[in-house]
């Protein structure tokens, strides 16, 4: 019989320990063939081989692709469009490990967040259950213990850059049964509009919005300037404020500024893009709507 072999000397066995066998062939396309081994431990004192404890015996595996143009940092089609799943934890406290693997050149991040199992458009620090940290090339991992049962979380697989389409594998392991359900992008197939504009020395820039029938929409403001300004978005009708991004101005360098709501057909809405001070000159607005949405620049 022919064999491929390797030998390892351990000076002082860390007892107990787990020996992991690796076998891989980068030149062959998966699936790889089953491989057969014999492993012998030689020692001058008694040694015992057994099965390691399979602490995270439940596994859910998802394969997918990031479409071209989807990334963490892109101002056009951003975080919200990254693949997301609803994670359902059963009736017991869970220990969870999530592994995300992409191409070798892709910087990736995996995050589990509280969100009632809904698709996340942005990520606030207080919502993060666990996260793999800085975007890392090829693969990322994150884990959490004592994850509350009967709670729904969202798992997000994101990448840093938006170059070509890229494949990924997400593996979620747990000590109890968990379920992963893909969260479809709510705005998939809906109308999108991207407008670039500037404040032109003023602090408010206005846009007129019009729809012919009841339409749900969202608009996200991003900065095209080197120094992102503090901003605020609000939607008015007849000089009355209907929706806003909050009373405070949002630091575009740290957070996303976005509003969403429903528009009635026949009404004339005014979207005010406000900035604090003189920072930032150019900005971009990304509109998403489930119907036809007319956007016109106001005559300021």
């Amino acid at each position: 019989m022919e064999a491929n072999h390797t030998l390892l000397k351990i000076s002082g066995i860390p007892s107990p320990c787990v020996i992991v066998i690796s076998a891989n062939d980068k030149k062959s396309a998966p699936p790889l063939p089953e491989v057969f081994f014999s492993l012998t431990v030689y020692s001058k004192s008694r040694c015992e081989l057994s099965e390691p404890v399979n602490a995270l015996g439940h596994e859910v595996r998802m394969r997918g692709t990031w479409p071209r143009g989807v990334s963490y940092k892109s101002p056009l089609s951003t975080f919200v469009e990254n693949p997301q799943w609803k994670l359902i934890v059963g009736n017991e406290k869970a220990r969870i490990l999530a592994l995300l693997e992409g191409d070798e050149e892709t910087a990736v991040n995996v995050t589990i967040a509280w969100s009632a199992g809904k698709r996340l458009a942005r990520l606030a620090n207080q919502d993060i259950l666990c996260q793999s940290g800085e975007y890392a090339l090829h693969h990322a991992t994150t884990s959490a213990r004592n994850v509350k049962p009967s709670t729904q979380y969202t798992v997000i697989a994101s990448r840093f850059e938006e170059h070509a389409k890229a494949r990924f594998t997400l593996v979620v392991r747990s000590d109890v049964q968990v379920e992963l359900m893909p969260l479809r992008e709510e705005w998939a197939g809906k109308s999108r509009k991207h407008i670039e504009s500037g404040w032109e020395g003023k602090s408010i820039k206005r846009f007129m919005l019009e729809v012919s029938r009841l339409t749900s929409f969202s608009v996200r403001l991003s900065s095209l300037a080197k120094t992102p300004p503090f901003v605020r978005l609000c939607l008015q009708v007849n000089d009355t404020e209907l929706i806003s991004s909050g009373d405070q101005y949002t630091d575009l360098g740290l957070q996303t500024c976005e509003i969403a709501g429903d528009l009635l057909g026949g009404e004339e809405y005014v979207l005010c893009v406000e900035r604090l001070g003189e920072d930032g000159t150019e900005f971009a607005l990304d509109f998403l709507a489930d119907g036809e949405l007319e956007v016109e620049m106001g005559n300021d």
Partner: protein, 133 residues
């Protein structure tokens, strides 16, 4: 390797024809280790496993998933013992048609639980190319 170490070699074919007991010492010569490494690609060493009082063997198989990172489904074995140990891993070829050009390896992690991601083993060794014995 010790600097200046020399290795004695024998060329069994130095006299021409089939080597025999009568020509056992013919064709022997000394070579320093650096020169040996420059001239030969592979060095096979014999060793005697009987010098170890204890040994334990497991036979197993698994199907690699193609990832060096997601190793939860790789074959794993728990070891309890003390002192020094030598771990010999042999891959069995069932047929030459497999066309395997990859590597095999052993990594050792402290603890009793199965390892799911590749991170900081205390020991590891990889055989990069199939060496047939």
């Amino acid at each position: 390797m010790v600097k200046g170490m020399k290795v004695q070699l024998r060329n069994p074919w130095s006299q021409g024809g089939v080597p025999s007991e009568a020509t056992r010492d013919a064709g022997t010569f000394w070579l320093d280790f650096r020169a040996l490494c420059q001239r030969f690609k592979t060095l096979y060493l014999n060793w005697n496993p009987a010098i170890f009082e204890y040994s334990s063997t497991k036979h197993f198989s698994f199907t690699p998933n193609g990832s060096d990172f997601d190793i939860g489904s790789n074959a794993q074995i728990s070891l309890k013992g003390s002192g020094d140990a030598w771990i010999l891993l042999q891959r069995h070829y069932l047929g030459k048609a497999e066309g395997w050009e990859g590597y095999i390896g052993i990594s050792v992690f402290p603890g009793t639980e199965r390892i799911y991601t590749y991170s900081r083993p205390v020991y590891r060794v990889f055989s990069m190319k199939a060496m047939l014995i």
